[in-house]
């Protein structure tokens, strides 16, 4: 082995040590320039090849190139190492507390009354009913007369009415819409299936359980072969959508001027499952709606032949539904719009 080769070998060893000892990229670069640069020792060795024989030159030359390549690789390795360390160091300084709260966009709440209305609408839309809204200021004719409540009918006492004039009033229930739709409907196009949710008014003093304004939904299904068993099935389907699959319903005889037979509809208590609790006043049942088979006089008043067509109607209090569902104890909450109340129902469903 020539002395040049020995010198190169020493250079390689010493160089590798120096490179590995570099503490930052600048130092590494300085070492690289010093070792591998034009004025560096390897270049110098190659320059010394002039003194070698022609036969010796290729071997030494190739050895020198190998040494240079090897050192360059060590430099590259070290560079990658140092760069990685530098990034890691930088990232360490960038670390944040990910448990600090995020900037949440402010999302408003849908009023709980609207949520209940939409849930009911969607349930009945799914069964092929349409949704109508009607008038809040109604004619007495539609609010009473056409619903089998002629003047001086005792049932009118059941509803304390805000009159505007002798013949115009604030609707006391959502039934006027049913009469209007019944009057308009073309039965050659199929049965009439509708629900009508909206605001109604009664002459009541506002307190925890009474409100001069509240929301109701009524619905009707009038066709050629609509039975009371269909009423039971339809309501059972709707109740289960809203209060859960395991709910049972029962009919109790009742009285409404616009239906006969008339029933109150109870559902098995969703809180105690029928065992008895405060919500159901220890009966296991909760009264949620009124219903019945549309009275022949109502059909006749709307120009529909009760011998051919018939069906059912039902009505429920939206406020009461919401109060039952969420255990709300004061009806005034719905209309005072305290944001601490409204936002409790932000999560829909």
């Amino acid at each position: 082995m020539s002395t040049l080769q020995e010198k190169l070998t020493q250079l390689q060893q010493k160089g590798s040590q120096d490179i590995k000892a570099a503490s930052d990229l600048k130092q590494l670069n300085d070492i690289r320039v010093k070792l591998l640069g034009k004025k560096g020792p390897i270049t110098e060795v190659l320059r010394g090849m002039r003194d070698l024989t022609k036969e010796e030159r290729p071997a030494v030359g190739s050895f020198a190139n190998k040494v240079r390549d090897a050192l360059a690789e060590v430099v590259d390795q070290k560079k990658a190492e140092l760069e990685q360390a530098k990034i890691e160091q930088q990232l360490a300084t960038e670390t944040i507390d990910v448990t600090l709260p995020g900037d949440q966009p402010k999302i408003g709440a849908h009023h709980v009354i609207s949520q209940v209305i939409e849930q009911l609408e969607d349930t009945f839309l799914g069964m092929g009913f349409k949704v109508v809204y009607g008038y809040e200021v109604e004619e007495e004719k539609y609010n009473f007369e056409m619903l089998n409540m002629p003047k001086d009918h005792p049932a009118r006492d059941m509803q304390d009415t805000f009159y505007i004039t002798k013949d115009v009033l604030m609707r006391t229930h959502m039934s006027p819409d049913e009469a209007r739709e019944l009057e308009k409907h073309d039965f050659s196009q199929g049965p009439l299936k509708m629900v009508s949710p909206g605001r109604v008014y009664r002459r009541d003093t506002d307190d925890a359980t009474h409100s001069h304004q509240f929301f109701q939904m009524e619905g009707q299904y009038i066709g050629k072969n609509v039975t009371m068993a269909d009423l039971k099935g339809t309501l059972e389907f709707a109740i289960r959508q809203i209060f859960g699959e395991e709910r049972e319903i029962r009919f109790r005889p009742s009285y409404f001027p616009f239906t006969e037979p008339s029933v109150e509809v109870d559902i098995s208590c969703f809180k105690c499952n029928g065992k008895g609790c405060d919500v159901c006043k220890h009966t296991g049942w909760i009264e949620v709606l009124g219903a019945g088979m549309t009275h022949p006089n109502v059909l006749k008043a709307a120009g529909v032949d009760p011998e051919i067509y018939g069906g059912f109607a039902f009505g429920l209090g939206i406020d009461r539904f919401a109060m039952l569902k969420y255990g709300i104890d004061d009806i005034r909450n719905f209309y005072q719009n305290d944001v601490r109340f409204l936002t409790q129902f932000e999560k829909r469903g």
Binding site: H110, I164, T227, D338
Partner: protein, 804 residues
């Protein structure tokens, strides 16, 4: 209607508990609201015999009573009642007993004397003051002499009974009588009720000797019947009858008045008793009152009658408001010796009106209003006369005066088995239907499934086939009704496009941070008329409950401001609300029905963005609200252009911070800050609001959605900074830019706005980015430069801008 379980058992054999009975009645026909046991909660209350009394040495009103309680020697009980006396059987609450209101009685000393319990008044063991007999109102109650000393007191007072409180619907007035309830219970349990009837023993003297009766208009009193009873002695009724009255909530008075009440409870037939000697004539005439005719009713109130009132007169003056309340002058008193007893049917509508007019709703008027069993008017009269004669030693004169009367007849109603099952969706057999009608005590005949039901007079609510169908359904049992879904053709169940758009709008407003509010539509006259979009006349209710809810709103903003005030008063100062609902607009005061228009409005106060660790607080300003309105309007995809016009003319709005909103040339709403003086009145902080006519937005013409390919050619932008006079609007500048912008100007965006110390007073600096694009080719700089130069020129010449 309070139904005594014990009384009911006289008419029908029952082997169920009162609670079971109540539940069964509720499920088959009439809701029982409550089942009440009068002795519930009472303990150790027994019959005592007062052996002797002597005054308490340390008191001027207490007595020391030696009371025999049946067990050992008499015990001493201190009693303060003025009527306590030796020889009485009394109610004694023993030491350790419980009396009304869960009060516990202990052995104790009163002013140094031992008292082994308490001698009780009826009120102290749970009787209502309205029901306890007047004679014992201020003292202890005295039990009948045959009461067994030491035995529980409850059976002697009817307190071992159970009272079922029935909620009677207008169609079931037949159950406003014990006999009616017995028929109903009989139908429910398939048992036949049994009733006693009583015919009075008449004297030879005919009634016509002492009295004549006539009815002016048969329609007012289609059945009017009188009996006369002479030589009566007014005294307390027998205890059994008193018990029946007080358990029904009626105070016993005397043997005549009590019988009228008892027969009313029994038959549902109101009765009236007149003192014959005080009628002032030998004549009874049923007629209409003359307008303004005077009558003092039993309660001592004087009335000026209306010509719509039916009255009983003595031929010259009114002595009784028919069916509603008797007159004070002819009232039964302790001195009465001859009684005129009336059983009638009056026209329900007139009774109802009279009761309402004088606010005199009574047990009697309520029954006349809802209906009377035509079949028992005379039976009830006879029964009452017989009882009065019995209890008062009176003589019933021969015959009944009946100037009008109704011949009772059953109503025949027909219905087919097929119809019943068609309506109910059930398969009830003809035999089953027959059985149900029989349980109801209806006569029934059937031929090939066609039923003829002969409905007795006690069920006057039944007149059409639907009535019979209901009877079958409830007595067959709704629990046996299957659940099915209608078999008819399917129908599409979809929201209308407008209904869908309103739901989308709600989502947009909520995603924008506004909470949905629902306010009262009835408000004060002042608030109803504020913030109106267009002038309109108010709609008021005729008899409001309060002035706060008297007039229908014509805007949604005032309700939202009330809501903000409510929140602010409760320390919720950052509030963002919106409401969607109707306003009620009348064209003029003469119109009776307002137009109902859907509006949507929003109101925001306080910080739009609350301060957090990461963000500074951002108080609400005009542009945030305007941004929400713009997003909302954008969602409606309107064909005409939306423009904002400064307005200083809205009285409740800030004159410098309010814009009217137009779609094309139609005014659809406004946005801006509430006038600071109005904010003060509402007690709210600076508040920004918007209000839009939603009905208009829903009906205005929409823009067609047309797809455009995304251009592959690049856009070129140019920025321009302008110095303009302060009153030059953004609208004027962008209008000018677009006017001269050329075919390829796509967009103009304001990116900076400055007023302040760095520029001349009275000026402001605005900077815009103009974006150019040719969808068909690459634009050259030269093309853009030429177009941009035209814009700069017009800004200088038209707007007076200095380009910076």
């Amino acid at each position: 209607m309070k139904v005594s379980y014990n009384w009911l058992k006289d008419y029908i054999d029952l082997d169920v508990t009162p609670e079971e009975l109540a539940n069964k009645i509720t499920l088959t026909g009439i809701e029982v609201e409550d089942t009440f046991h009068p002795d519930a909660g009472l303990k150790k209350i027994v019959v005592g015999y007062v052996v002797s009394t002597k005054p308490h040495p340390n008191s001027d009103h207490l007595q020391l009573c030696q009371v025999d309680l049946g067990a050992s020697d008499p015990v001493q009980i201190v009693c303060g009642a003025p009527n306590v006396a030796a020889g009485q059987k009394v109610i004694v609450a023993l030491p350790g007993s419980r009396i009304a209101n869960n009060e516990k009685i202990k052995k104790g000393k009163m002013r140094g004397e031992v008292s082994n319990g308490m001698i009780c008044a009826l009120q102290e063991i749970g009787f209502s003051t309205d029901v306890a007999p007047q004679a014992y109102a201020d003292g202890i109650y005295v039990l009948p002499a045959d009461a067994k000393v030491g035995a529980p007191v409850y059976p002697y007072l009817g307190m071992d009974d159970a009272i079922l409180d029935l909620a009677i619907t207008p169609n079931r007035a037949d159950a406003q009588s014990m006999r009616g309830v017995a028929y109903e219970v009989g139908a429910v349990y398939a048992k036949k009720p049994h009733f006693d009837v009583a015919k009075p023993v008449e004297t030879a003297k005919p009634v016509t000797d002492v009295l004549q009766a006539s009815v002016a208009a048969e329609k007012d009193a289609p059945s009017y019947n009188l009996r006369v009873i002479e030589n009566v002695k007014i005294q307390p009724s027998p205890l059994w009858l008193q018990i029946r009255l007080w358990n029904a909530g009626i105070r016993p008075i005397n043997n005549v008045v009590d019988v009228t009440n008892y027969v009313m409870l029994d038959y549902g037939q109101p009765m009236h008793a007149f003192d014959y000697d005080k009628i002032g004539s030998k004549e009874i005439l049923v007629r209409r009152a003359t307008e303004g005719e005077a009558l003092t009713t039993l309660d001592g109130n004087e009335h000026e009658l209306s010509a719509d009132d039916i009255v009983i007169s003595n031929g010259t003056k009114a002595i009784n408001l028919a069916g509603v309340m008797g007159g004070l002058d002819s009232e039964i008193t302790d001195q009465t010796t001859t009684v005129v007893l009336e059983a009638a049917i009056f026209d329900p509508m007139h009774i109802r009106k009279s009761a309402q007019r004088y606010n005199l709703r009574s047990e009697a008027s309520s029954r006349f209003e809802k209906g009377i069993n035509k079949g028992t008017v005379l039976t009830a009269l006879d029964h009452a006369a017989s009882l009065i004669a019995d209890f008062s030693d009176g003589d019933v004169l021969a015959g009944i005066l009946s100037p009008t009367k109704i011949v009772p007849a059953a109503t025949v109603v027909e219905v087919s088995q097929e119809r019943i099952n068609h309506v109910l969706g059930m398969q009830i057999s003809a035999a089953e239907i027959t059985k149900i009608f029989k349980r109801l005590a209806f006569g029934v005949s059937e031929m090939n499934g066609q039923f003829k039901a002969s409905v007795p007079t006690h069920r006057w609510d039944i007149s059409i086939p639907a009535d019979l169908i209901e009877e079958v359904a409830r007595l067959y049992g709704y629990d046996k009704m299957p659940t099915t879904l209608p078999a008819s053709a399917s129908t599409p169940g979809i929201l209308t496009p407008q209904q869908r758009r309103v739901r989308q709008m709600a989502q947009l407003l909520e995603a924008s941070g506004l909470n949905q509010a629902i306010s009262y539509a009835l408000t004060t006259s002042e608030k109803a008329s504020q913030f109106t979009l267009i002038p309109a006349a108010t709609t008021s209710v005729a008899w409001p409950m309060t002035v706060d809810h008297a007039v229908l709103r014509m805007n949604l903003v005032s309700g939202l401001l009330d809501n903000l005030a409510y929140n602010i008063a409760r320390k919720q100062v950052n509030v963002a609300l919106y409401e969607q609902g109707r306003v009620f607009l009348k064209q003029d005061a003469k119109t009776t029905r307002p137009e109902e228009v859907e509006y949507v409005a929003g109101a925001v106060t306080g910080d739009w963005q609350a301060k957090t660790w990461n963000q500074a607080a951002k108080p609400v300003d005009f542009y945030q609200i305007k941004g929400i309105v713009a997003a909302l309007l954008n969602q409606f995809n309107l064909k005409a252009t939306v423009t904002y016009h400064a307005t200083a003319t809205r009285a409740e709005m800030h004159p410098g911070r309010t814009a009217d909103i137009y779609v094309g040339d139609q005014l659809v709403g406004f946005v801006g800050q509430i006038h600071p003086q109005v904010e003060k009145v509402y007690r709210i902080k600076p508040t920004y609001v918007f209000q839009l006519n939603l009905t208009a937005l829903l009906t205005l013409e929409k823009q067609a959605v047309v797809y455009q390919a995304i251009s592959k050619y690049p856009v070129i932008t140019r920025d321009v900074a302008l110095l303009v006079a302060s009153d030059v609007t953004n609208q004027a500048i962008t209008d000018a830019i677009f006017a001269k912008g050329g075919a390829h100007l796509k967009n103009v965006t304001l990116f900076d706005s400055y007023t302040g110390s760095k520029i001349e007073k009275g000026k402001k600096s605005l900077a815009y980015t103009l974006t150019y694009q040719n969808p068909g080719a690459t634009l050259t700089d030269d093309e853009v430069n030429t177009a941009f130069a035209k814009v700069e020129k017009t800004l200088v010449e038209q707007i007076g801008a200095v380009i910076r």
